[in-house]
């Protein structure tokens, strides 16, 4: 088990699946679908095995020795000349407590999304091929530890997403798709620049004793590895670390999406097919916050400490702003989209707290938001499949017509507004407790708690408009959930419930890593301060 490259397996399996699918004739739609299902199922199982063998004690974050399931071999190695040094890129994968929940999340969501893609009937082959490609991209981002590799995966999921929204989306799909594409590419160019700049600022000593530039993220986290003159090296008195940090942050923030870079999200969500919205909200948004946590924080700890107040500020804006916008929406799906902007704000706030409680909350919130919002979008999908409209005001009294559906919705909604006993509450509470514990952002935290109230506002209002009141006769024929929909909603509900009652299972998973991260961030000041003089 230990020497089996499980991370590569879990990451590249979907690509394999894609190849297989490409060889299945167009007509065999059912075969294609079930192949995809099988692939994602295997992926899920692999993820669970991974979890079983995961060592809770190891911290990871910036310490290569305590990462797990590491796979590392030389990928590109160009022995250059004196003036270029040598270009060296590793195929370097590994996970710690921060990435493992997201790996699990990705596996779960992909599986669920495959189920919900069952209704796709337009050029099925292409759809599932793209779907699996996307899957690889997402998974890769969470397991890559080499910046170059990370970037490749990061970009890899752009194109499939474009097609998935653009071909299988709603009426304004082309607009939404290109908007998503341009936005995210715009973001990633900053990541690219910073990546290269970091490359020229970081060296690593090889076995044969030669010093070479490296894309290895973990080396970038160790100030000892910085060159004296690199533009992003703290040793260089006039370095550009601050600017680079902002660039990088913006790059990731667009994915979160953080106000004011969020406008692609509602469009993308509204146009995307249900399954893709699920993926988008469930996993893609996390890539942004994960990026910040994995790249921005440990590589630029001292800058992070400088800017933490602003991060919290934007977190607060996201929370309040998103909630208020959600309150005004008339389109069910758009409302959910804005609500996830609001919830991602919590993640930002939690990370900004820089203490174990807050960061735990943030990571946990990533996972919970993944599951809960996935549920919400599935729920929207259910009603849209039946009624072919998403206007909140067009419904009413569905609770009498579709009681079980209403039941699941209630669960999801209350989970989203952080009702105790459901996972949403724990992460939310942790985020607030953590952030409040950090003196400088205390005020922001208190303001952010308004989100709790507003959340209840828009969710219950939507609840009332769709499910309560008297049933309109035109909906009198709507059927309650089908077996497939059960299969999608039940597991998620169980996760939400279980983690709400006994969150320790997930928290222990990330605990030591979070503590390591906190310790690292705490020492950053002294560590980097000493470097400068």
């Amino acid at each position: 088990m230990q020497n089996f490259p499980i991370l590569s397996f879990i990451t590249l399996l979907p690509i394999l699946g894609m190849v297989i699918i490409l060889f299945i004739p167009k007509k065999q739609e059912i075969v294609i679908k079930s192949t995809t299902l099988a692939i994602t199922a295997i992926q899920l199982i692999a993820a669970i095995i991974l979890l079983k063998n995961f060592n809770y004690a190891l911290g990871g974050v910036n310490d290569p020795s305590s990462f797990q399931f590491i796979e590392k071999f030389r990928w590109i190695d160009i022995t250059g000349f004196s003036w270029i040094g040598r270009i060296k890129i590793d195929y370097f994968m590994g996970i710690d407590g921060i990435s493992v929940p997201l790996v699990l999340l990705t596996a779960i969501i992909s599986f669920i999304a495959t189920l919900s893609s069952w209704t796709i009937n337009k050029s099925v082959k292409g759809y599932f091929a793209m779907f699996l490609l996307l899957d690889t991209g997402m998974m890769g981002v969470f397991v890559a530890l080499d910046f170059f590799l990370f970037y490749i995966f990061w970009e890899l999921m752009l194109l499939p997403m474009y097609f998935l929204i653009g071909i299988w989306g709603g009426p304004r799909r082309e607009y939404a798709a290109i908007k998503f594409f341009l936005y995210t590419l715009f973001g990633s160019i900053f990541i690219l620049i910073v990546m290269i700049a970091l490359y020229f600022s970081t060296t690593e000593v090889l076995a044969d004793g030669t010093k070479v530039f490296t894309f290895n993220m973990l080396s970038m986290m160790n100030p000892q590895n910085f060159t004296a003159t690199g533009i992003l090296s703290p040793l260089n008195p006039n370095n550009l670390r601050l600017i680079a940090y902002i660039g990088l942050f913006v790059g990731f923030a667009i994915k979160i999406p953080m106000f004011p870079f969020h406008t692609w999200l509602p469009d993308a969500h509204v146009e995307a097919p249900t399954a893709i919205s699920v993926i988008l909200a469930g996993v893609l948004l996390k890539m942004g916050t994960y990026g910040i946590l994995r790249v921005c924080f440990p590589i630029f700890p001292e800058i992070t400490r400088q800017l933490v107040w602003y991060i919290a500020l934007f977190g607060m804006i996201n929370i309040i702003y998103g909630a208020l916008c959600a309150l005004a929406q008339k389109d069910f799906k758009k409302m959910i989209a804005y609500s996830s902007i609001s919830h991602m704000g919590l993640v930002l706030l939690g990370m900004a707290s820089l203490n174990s409680m807050g960061i735990t909350g943030a990571v946990f919130q990533m996972f919970n938001h993944g599951t809960i919002t996935a549920m919400l979008f599935l729920i929207v999908g259910v009603i849209y499949d039946r009624a072919h409209t998403r206007g909140l005001d067009e419904f009413g009294g569905l609770a009498t017509q579709m009681p079980i559906y209403a039941g699941f919705t209630t669960l999801a909604f209350f989970a989203a507004i952080g009702l105790p006993g459901l996972s949403g509450f724990v992460s939310e509470a942790f985020v607030f407790l953590g952030a409040f514990g950090f003196t400088s952002i205390r005020t922001l935290t208190v303001i952010s708690t308004l989100g709790i109230l507003l959340g209840a506002g828009y969710m219950l209002w939507a609840m009332q408009r769709v499910f309560l009141g008297s049933l309109k006769d035109k909906w009198a024929s709507l059927k309650d959930l089908t077996f497939r929909e059960y299969a999608m909603l039940v597991p998620l509900s169980l996760i939400v419930l279980f983690l709400g009652i006994y969150p320790a299972t997930m928290l222990n998973l990330m605990n030591s890593s979070v503590n390591a991260m906190v310790k690292f961030m705490a020492n950053a000041q002294t560590m980097y301060g000493s470097l400068l003089h």
Partner: protein, 503 residues
């Protein structure tokens, strides 16, 4: 004329074996064309064979570093060095592909009776370009440039039937004539100032500070006009869109790769050899301060890529769109030069290989589609995904690669350019260039959109591709993907060929 001169001549001839082969092939082609009037099938094979031989010779002497045809002084008219050989190799490679394209192209088939001229002219171009790649004397530079131009004028208008065709050639000839004229004037001034036409001699002559820089600047820029027109750098690019649109597709593809490559070889050699002062161990060049080439190139390149990308946003004709995109790429390539470092040159070489694959590939697909639906209008591309998924997918891969998204080779090309830029601390330029990439994404994706997202009004029949062309396409496609994942050989090749004679 004593013996050792003779020996020297023989040696020189020995050094330019590839060129000799090409010239021989020209003659052979003409003869064959005359002898067997009916059967033109043979011509492509001959050309391919000839190119392979030439290629072999190039590889054989890849590492050689020496002058050929020395004049009075030590320096010679031609140089044989890895740098030049790299470009010759690239040209040969491109030529092989173009010959293959021509075989499959319907446009060319239609004028079967004139195939002899066609291939002969192509080889004329090849010869000229090879000399461009290795010329170290202004005279040779001018002549080779003209040789290329003259043949390409004709080729641009080769299939005479269509309006666009002859119009293209007319514009090309006028525009080209003037540019080379201006260049020649510049050359004459330099000759006047330095009294020599050999780059090395000029270099040694102008090390002295008392050269009056304004005239020299004038001369330099006048010469740049000539080269800039070859590599279609703004503001000397105006011919490009019209000629690219007008010319037959194989020729367009050829112009976009080969003559651009030759032009770059020439430009780099001209600037480096003529104006170099010293190279520091970091590999950065320090040029003479007579002309501030660095900022000049930066301005030109940014102008070029911006103009190319933004103008491309609007194109509704595929060839024209690719024309503008190739202008934009010229801009990226110039950035590599603007770094004024060996790393920059490496980046350029890498980019050129990648660019050759993806651009030729794109043109090839466009041609295959045009063969069937007889149009390159974007609107006719609607719904191609259903009628010919294979072509659609491969075209999109090429376009994505042109955009420079991983994991395609295009990304690697750009990556190296940016590595060079950032290593030279030219962050701002890098940012501008990357923003350009974002813009370019839009029009490339517009093509994807037409093929995949839009449904066509009229029902288009399923387009079949012959096995031959399918194989060829895959052969071009494979490297685009492979180099995206594993690019060590590519970079090694580039690095081993950035040595110019004397440095």
């Amino acid at each position: 004329m004593n013996t050792n001169n003779l020996n020297y001549l023989v040696n020189s001839l020995y050094l330019i074996k590839p060129e000799l082969v090409i010239s021989a092939i020209i003659v052979l082609l003409v003869l064959v064309d005359l002898i067997m009037l009916k059967n033109k099938k043979l011509l492509p094979y001959i050309s391919i064979a000839g190119l392979l031989i030439a290629g072999y010779f190039i590889i054989e002497h890849f590492e050689t570093n020496s002058f050929a045809f020395s004049t009075s002084s030590s320096a010679g008219m031609l140089i044989v060095d890895p740098f030049g050989n790299f470009f010759k190799l690239l040209i040969v490679f491109a030529s092989i592909l173009v010959v293959l394209f021509s075989v499959t192209s319907v446009e060319i088939k239609n004028s079967l009776d004139r195939h002899g001229e066609y291939y002969a002219l192509i080889f004329g171009m090849i010869l000229g370009m090879m000399f461009m790649a290795s010329a170290s004397d202004l005279i040779v530079i001018y002549i080779s440039l003209e040789l290329v131009s003259l043949s390409s004028y004709v080729l641009a208008g080769f299939t005479k039937q269509s309006l666009r065709n002859s119009e293209a050639s007319l514009k090309y000839v006028i525009y080209g004539g003037i540019s080379s004229g201006i260049m020649l004037f510049g050359i004459s001034i330099i000759y006047g100032i330095t009294g020599s036409t050999n780059l090395y001699e000029i270099n040694s002559l102008i090390q002295a500070p008392q050269v009056q820089s304004l005239t020299f600047l004038l001369a330099g820029i006048l010469i740049f006009v000539g080269i800039g027109y070859k590599i279609s750098a703004a503001p000397f690019h105006f011919w490009t869109p019209d000629v690219y649109e007008g010319a037959p597709i194989p020729i367009t593809a050829y112009l976009s790769i080969a003559s651009k490559a030759a032009g770059f070889a020439l430009l780099i050699r001209f600037i480096k050899v003529t104006f170099i002062q010293s190279i520091d161990p970091e590999g950065f060049w320090h040029l003479l301060s007579i002309i501030d080439w660095k900022s000049f190139i930066i301005i030109i390149s940014i102008l070029t890529m911006t103009l190319g990308n933004f103008a491309a946003l609007w194109q509704s004709n595929m060839k024209r769109l690719l024309a503008y995109s190739s202008i934009a790429h010229a801009g990226y390539l110039l950035l590599g030069l603007a770094v004024m470092s060996n790393e920059g040159i490496t980046a350029i070489l890498i980019y050129f290989v990648v660019y050759a694959f993806m651009n030729l590939g794109a043109f090839f697909v466009v041609m295959l589609i045009a063969n069937k639906i007889g149009s390159e209008e974007l609107d006719d591309y609607k719904g191609l995904s259903s009628s010919t998924p294979f072509l659609a997918v491969s075209l999109s891969i090429f376009l994505i690669s042109l955009t420079g998204l991983p994991p395609t080779a295009g990304f690697i090309g750009k990556l190296y350019i940016f590595i060079a830029l950032i290593d030279a601390k030219m962050i701002v330029v890098a940012v501008i260039a990357l923003l350009n990439t974002v813009v370019s994404l839009y029009y490339y994706v517009k093509v994807l959109k037409h093929m995949f997202l839009d449904k066509s009004e009229k029902e288009i029949p399923a387009i079949s591709t012959s096995y031959a062309s399918a194989v060829l396409l895959i052969a071009i496609l494979a490297p685009v993907l492979v180099f995206g994942i594993y690019f060590t050989p590519l970079v090694d090749l580039a690095k081993s060929s950035i040595t110019l004679l004397g440095f």
